[in-house]
């Protein structure tokens, strides 16, 4: 279905529609929202990683001047152990509610316990200190393998392991076990000339968006609840708040403000239901803001993990079998991304014999939330390092090794699906031919590494409405919050259909009452699925406009064609009218034209990336410096190449941070000791070179312009690419993330 032709708008680089608002400070983000009579909320959080709540006394806080209301879990509707379906899979409602405000136990330092609304943020903060909570402190468990031990402290007395459909009898911290098998792994390993098996450990890392979570809620006297907030999905906020408060979705309106980054971390709700509870209790609008420590301690990081990978290959370099054991921390409640990790780990390769085991394990850390290709980076760190070692031992160039084994259309993934047309091989070929890869590399302590990655991408539901203006422009109404320039990439797809410039589209992201259902900005789906809806809405406009031209010329609509923005009559009258001129005649031809498009497309088309990195290792300090970085990625079709490059560069740099520096550091009591930007230490621009983003275009057959999602896969290869470069530099295989100076010094035997 992919259209094969030259495009006029698709593939160009217009200025983004929301650009001027964002460079002048006029764009309004969640925390910028103001309304008369506003109260300010603040959440009290647990100082303990694991404790039973014996009592909560809010009376001193309630009596404090300026305080207007205090809420605890008692104010939430009672949540039994029942299952809620929030579109992204089944969720235990008690777990969902307890993560908003703890009822019986706190399960991580930073777990929300109570909240105060007051006339100023400072008063609310002071009043939080007057809430008396009595705890019975319990021993915490902070590491996935310890949590899996039979005698480990239990987080949930009722949690029992489900393993491939069967539920165990005894409670455990292991929430679930999954397994994928393909072929006969035993036979495959027997056929191998060489087998490599390694263990890997990755740390807990945070999405690190610069804007903290925020929410302002107001309950009208008629029971209508409005929430203004930064979110990756206004509709998912509506669903989650409705479930948690047991309130009808028809009475909840979510207004998405501009969002200051998310990377998966602004899908789950935290303070939005709390703001709603405070608004209900006080009868006033209440704004709740997190500070940076709240964000680190109280919102989803992506999990630490233990990964074991075993792979075998023949002397000729053909992989014969692969085995993976993935144990991921879910945090305080089940829900780690071990599933996607298992789906992605061997997906770049065509391997006949595979076995993958995955474990979702609870520990006393914040409940994990999605983070850019969730689960895939943890898994790929292991598999792509083992691939590098296989290639090295077999004396085959690592990119050549990937070409020998690379997955192609028709190959089956171990978890079931058969690949449609994919562009993995093309990314490897482009990396191999890149001047970076062919440049000399051999100075002392300098090294070069490569790694690849896969992310499956998702489709899901999107809706777009287009209102045609009399001056030949269109207003495009969408429900996808714009985190990285998607107003432009969506508008451009409608513009292409209608033969108008990108600048003739006015895109608006609107509230849940004003557009059809639209799933989250996540899963690399927005330019793909909402863009697809915009394409369909523009097609609807085109059909209606053809009818108007036919009416004008008194011909049958089948005798009107539309090309390059001009309607013309065929078979008879030689008439022509431009899109713009016809827009001026809508009144006389039947009234306004409104087009709509709704989709739930299945053909998201997986994305592949191959990265090349040069590093230098400082022997004295253990510091690894990134000297040069090239990231190749199949974008299917890059609608706006600048923002595709931006996704690739940003994803690669988040990966660099994960590889070299970022981790939650805990003390023995289970409290994070580096819960600030200074101590968590994400990459700054001084840590980095330019990131060369190379776009490969292998059109996705599941989209009219061939789009594949681009946002997530660039974070998958960096950790292994850098580990492989460090090996090239100093001859040591690093198997633990982050590869921080102290770990390098230990590995080199210096400390």
């Amino acid at each position: 279905m992919t259209e094969n032709k030259e495009y006029k708008v698709v593939g160009t680089r217009p200025i983004r529609h929301d650009g001027v608002d964002k460079v002048t400070g006029r764009a309004l983000y969640g925390a910028d929202f103001q309304i008369a009579g506003l109260l300010h909320g603040r959440v009290l959080r647990s100082p303990h990683a694991h404790a039973r709540i014996l009592s909560i006394d809010t009376s001193r806080a309630e009596a404090f001047p300026g305080v207007k209301g205090v809420v605890t879990a008692q104010d939430l509707p009672s949540a039994e152990d029942r299952i809620a379906d929030l579109g992204e899979g089944a969720v235990n409602l008690k777990h969902l509610c307890d993560n908003i405000l703890a009822s019986d136990k706190v399960l991580y330092t930073g777990h929300a316990v109570a909240a105060v609304a007051a006339t100023s943020p400072h008063i609310a903060e002071e009043a939080c200190k007057l809430i008396d909570v009595e705890y019975e402190v319990l021993p915490p468990v902070l590491e996935v393998r310890q949590a899996m031990e039979p005698d480990a402290p239990l987080l949930h007395e009722t949690l029992k392991t489900t393993s491939m459909g069967e539920t165990a009898d005894e409670p455990s911290n292991v929430a679930s076990h999954i397994q994928h098998t393909l072929g006969d792994p035993e036979k495959g390993f027997a056929e191998a000339d060489i087998i490599i098996e390694r263990d890997f450990v990755t740390g807990t890392v945070h999405q690190g968006y610069i804007e903290p979570h925020n929410a302002t809620a107001h309950f009208n006297q008629d029971g209508h609840l409005t929430i203004w907030c930064s979110t990756q999905g206004a509709f998912t906020v509506r669903e989650q708040v409705a479930e948690i408060l047991q309130y009808p979705i028809s009475k909840i309106k979510v207004v998405p403000m501009e969002i200051g980054g998310g990377f998966g971390g602004k899908i789950s709700v935290y303070i939005k239901p709390v703001a709603a509870l405070l608004a209900k209790k006080t009868g006033k609008p209440v704004k709740v803001l997190m500070n940076r420590t709240d964000v680190f301690e109280g919102t989803g990081p992506t999990p630490a993990s233990y990964v074991r990978v075993k792979m075998g290959a023949t002397k000729a370099g053909k992989i014969t079998a692969a085995e993976a054991y993935l144990a991921f921390e879910g945090g305080a409640y089940p829900g780690s991304p071990v599933g996607p990790g298992a789906m992605c780990i061997f997906a770049p390769y065509s391997i006949e014999n595979v076995i993958i085991d995955g474990y979702d394990v609870v520990v006393n850390k914040p409940k994990t939330a999605p983070y850019r290709a969730p689960g895939a980076p943890n898994a790929a760190f292991g598999s792509e390092t083992v691939i590098d070692e296989l290639a090295e031992k077999l004396d085959i160039d690592p990119l050549e090794f990937r070409l020998i084994n690379g997955a192609k259309e028709g190959d089956r993934r171990a978890d079931g699906p058969v690949h449609p047309r994919i562009g993995f091989i093309e990314t490897v070929e482009a990396a191999k031919a890149h001047p970076h890869y062919t440049a000399p590399n051999g100075k002392k302590h300098h090294g070069r590494g490569v790694a690849s990655g896969y992310w499956f991408n998702i489709g899901l539901e999107s809706s777009v409405t287009i209102n045609v203006n009399s001056d030949g422009t269109i207003n495009l109404i969408e429900g996808s919050t714009d985190i990285g320039g998607t107003r432009a990439s969506i508008a451009m797809q409608a513009a292409e259909v209608l033969g108008i410039p990108a600048e003739s589209v006015n895109p608006s992201v609107v509230d849940t009452n004003s557009v059809g259902y639209t799933a989250v900005t996540g899963g690399s789906r927005t330019t793909y699925a909402t863009g697809y809806a915009a394409y369909e809405a523009a097609q609807d406009v085109k059909r209606k406009m053809i009818e108007r031209a036919a009416k004008l010329w008194e011909v049958d609509a089948s005798n009107v064609q539309f090309e390059d923005g001009v309607f013309s009559s065929i078979n008879g009258k030689e008439e022509q009218i431009s899109f713009r001129d016809l827009c001026g005649q809508l009144g006389q031809t039947g009234g306004p034209v409104v087009g709509s498009g709704t989709v739930n497309p299945g053909g998201a088309g997986g994305a592949y990336a191959t990265h090349v990195v040069d590093v230098v290792v400082d022997e004295e300090t253990g510091k690894v410096e990134i000297l040069r970085y090239t990231a190749v990625q199949d974008a299917g079709k890059a609608i706006h190449p600048s923002y595709v490059e931006g996704q690739i560069q940003g994803g690669a740099v988040q990966g660099i941070g994960w590889a070299l520096n970022e981790e939650y550091i805990y003390n023995d009591e289970g409290t994070m000791t580096n819960a600030s930007f200074l101590d968590y230490r994400m990459p700054t621009c001084l840590d980095l070179p330019m990131i060369d983003a190379v776009i490969v275009e292998v059109p996705n057959p599941g989209h009219p312009y061939g789009v594949r999602g681009v946002g997530e896969v660039p974070i998958v290869p960096p950790m292994a690419a850098i580990a492989n470069a460090i090996y090239d530099a100093i001859g040591i295989r690093m198997t633990e993330l982050p590869m921080s100076p102290d770990r390098l010094l230990k590995a080199m035997g210096k400390i």
Partner: protein, 156 residues
């Protein structure tokens, strides 16, 4: 409640008077009292630079300055940078280079870049990276931001 202080200062060339509590930062005053919400709070402890403004010609994190400290001083914020009919060259360069994704760090980066170019009109890439290291961006990987500042310097 603490008595509020009366402060007179200059913001973006205009004389401004406001009342604030002693504990309120300049960032809080700008955002909550004066509704100049272009300066953003990312950390409230000087780590991220999203609240960068220029105070008497010097780049500061407005979360680390008290509102009362601005008495008699001059503050430049992102809201004062563009002319009525024309963006500042740094703003243009950010748009042309697609140097923003979510945009939350953008006002801080632009003010920081302005402070740099005011004192060093032709910085090298390294000088730009050194200067902007106090501003965090999590979306872009900084590549396009650095290019935008290089372009803005060349355009001046």
């Amino acid at each position: 409640m603490a008595r509020k202080s009366h402060v007179q200062t200059t913001i973006n060339g205009e004389t401004v008077e406001f009342l604030c509590e002693s504990r309120q930062s300049l960032l809080e005053v700008l955002r909550d009292e004066l509704h100049l919400t272009g300066a953003k709070e990312g950390c409230n402890n000087g780590n991220c630079g999203a609240c960068s403004v220029i105070l008497d010609g010097r780049l500061v994190n407005s979360c680390l300055v008290l509102g009362v400290e601005t008495e008699g001083k001059s503050v430049e914020t992102i809201e004062g940078l563009a002319e009525p009919d024309k963006l500042h060259p740094i703003q243009d360069a950010f748009l042309e280079n697609a140097a923003l994704q979510c945009g939350i760090c953008t006002p801080g980066f632009i003010m920081s870049a302005k402070a740099l170019l005011d004192q060093n009109p032709n910085p090298t890439e390294h000088e730009i990276r050194y200067w902007l290291a106090g501003n965090l961006c999590r979306c872009t990987g900084y590549d396009k931001i650095v290019r935008a500042v290089l372009d803005a310097a060349a355009a001046k």
